[in-house]
């Protein structure tokens, strides 16, 4: 059997946890496009699911449209960042409008993390306290900084990391999609190396499983990413499963400027 060479190995898992009645998280992955989207919704009844659902339906569709209109041309980084920010703003407007029009959905919103790989770069846009980590070598590093009250206290030097872990105000986010008419997504571009593993997750994972255990699990099981994702969810549930748990794992097998060529080949194959 020939080994098919993909640029990415992706796996994901989402679970309601052990306390909540609904899963308000939504996730979407597109290995061909090199795109991962994760959203953790909030709001009464099923409004949280609606908000996060809008986000993960819109982002991949819009980015694909954008991608197809461009052909295989390499993009300048600022253009990509603008595009990712524009997606977050579109999602924000759509959720905000839906919340205005339907009483049931009033006050709904969602966190959002978009990770888009292009060439030897990844552009990550986020709002709220869902995270994207990067595992490279022996290290795990959060590439996103939570938009949360607690993170602001840490940044201001008013609280230590340890105090933050046990704080009762952990779940206050300072930015989210759909709450206000305007929103300021944070977007950054990072270099990508072959072998990098990216972990997108909702707070239901990182509140229950330490960064070290996320690293141990993913690095031990990277040859079977779906199992790694399932094991992370299981650990979060074993530790209490207080919130919905979602994770997307992206193992970059090959990185470089050849991505456009690969994409073109894939496209031709579909024609």
């Amino acid at each position: 059997m020939n080994r098919v060479i993909h640029q990415f190995d992706m796996a994901s898992a989402t679970d309601v946890g052990r306390v909540r009645a609904h899963n308000e998280d939504s996730i979407a992955v597109d290995p061909e496009l090199g795109l991962a989207t994760l959203a953790d919704g909030m709001g009464g009844y099923n409004a949280g699911e609606v908000a996060s659902g809008i986000a993960v339906a819109m982002v991949p569709a819009e980015i694909r449209k954008f991608h197809d209109s461009l052909g295989v041309r390499d993009l300048a980084e600022p253009e990509v960042r603008e595009m990712v920010a524009a997606q977050a703003n579109k999602v924000n407007a759509a959720i905000y409008a839906a919340a205005q029009n339907q009483a049931n959905y009033s006050g709904m919103g969602t966190t959002l993390v978009i990770a888009y790989w292009h060439g030897d770069r990844v552009t990550i846009g986020h709002l709220g306290d869902s995270r994207c980590y990067r595992m490279r070598g022996e290290k795990i590093k959060a590439l996103t900084r939570d938009h949360s009250w607690i993170q602001e206290q840490i940044d201001a030097g008013l609280m230590t990391y340890e105090q933050a872990r046990t704080s009762k105000k952990k779940n206050l986010v300072t930015r989210a999609c759909g709450i206000d008419l305007n929103v300021a997504p944070e977007v950054h571009t990072h270099d990508v190396q072959a072998g990098d593993i990216y972990v997108l997750c909702s707070d239901g994972l990182y509140d229950m499983v330490s960064d070290d255990n996320i690293h141990l699990t993913v690095s031990s099981l990277k040859s079977n990413l779906p199992l790694a994702a399932q094991q992370l969810v299981q650990q979060a549930n074993d530790n209490g499963g207080r919130d919905n748990i979602s994770v997307i794992l992206v193992h970059v097998l090959k990185s470089g400027r050849t991505s456009a060529g690969l994409l073109a080949r894939v496209k031709n194959w579909f024609k």
């Binding site: 966190t111 009762k168 986010v173 300072t174 008419l181 530790n239 207080r242």
Partner: protein, 238 residues
């Protein structure tokens, strides 16, 4: 807020809210609750309150501290506990508003709208969102490490065949992978309910006590025999 009611022989002396994280009880005046009686030690006991929970601790007093008639060193206070210090009674009354939060409200993620960042022209009917944010959610405890499985006994693997024969490996981490990457790998996971083996990669699946496993996780028992990538090993507790 939780409180304690101090009484002597049936008559209430004072009531005190447990506002401070530490409330000390003793004969000396620097105590938060001073009881001037020779049966009470100078620093007799203290109550530590963390969020909705209060802990009573005897500070090595001469005559001891009783809760509901039983001597204690450390005790997690429950509503209506009766603390006896000498002839004095302290009744603990927990916060009636605490503990009524439904699981549905528990730790919901909420948006804290920053005055400068928020869209100031937001429609007025949306202020309901803002008021809800003021309500403080109940505390969540830090994610505790899972308790060691199987009654505190340490699980081990001993290699029974191949070049590593005789080697022993303590399964300390939450996950331990075994086998040869690219050929066959299995993982042993430590969970609150015990240890489990799961296939990770390779065409062949692990063999447990002579039977080939499927893709599902299987619980491991003491002295189970496992074969991964042609290497036999024993799982055991010690």
């Amino acid at each position: 807020m939780a409180k304690v009611i101090l009484s002597l022989e049936g008559s209430v002396i004072r009531e005190m809210n447990l506002e401070k994280e530490r409330v000390t009880i003793g004969r000396k005046p620097q105590n938060d609750i001073q009881i001037e009686n020779l049966a009470v030690s100078s620093e007799h006991a203290r109550i530590i309150t963390i969020l909705n929970d209060s802990f009573l601790e005897d500070l090595g007093s001469t005559n001891g501290t009783l809760v509901n008639g039983n001597p204690i060193k450390k005790h997690i206070l429950q509503n209506n506990d009766v603390i006896e210090i000498g002839k004095y009674i302290l009744k603990y009354v927990s916060d009636p508003s605490a503990g009524q939060t439904s699981a549905e409200d528990f730790e919901r993620t909420m948006v804290l709208r920053m005055p400068n960042a928020a869209q100031r022209t937001a429609a007025p009917e949306r202020t309901d969102t803002m008021t809800r944010m003021v309500a403080e959610p109940p505390a969540r405890a830090a994610a505790a490490p899972p308790p060691a499985a199987a009654g505190g006994q340490q699980a081990h693997i001993q290699i029974l065949s191949g070049p590593g024969v005789g080697r022993e490996l303590a399964l300390i981490k939450n996950l331990t992978t075994l086998g040869k990457p690219g050929v066959q790998v299995a993982v042993i996971t430590k969970r609150p309910q015990g240890y489990f083996i799961t296939h990770v990669e390779g065409v062949n699946y692990p063999i447990l006590n002579g039977a080939t496993l499927d893709a599902q996780a299987h619980a491991l028992k003491n002295h189970d025999l496992v074969e991964i990538a042609g290497v036999k090993m024993e799982f055991f507790f010690k």
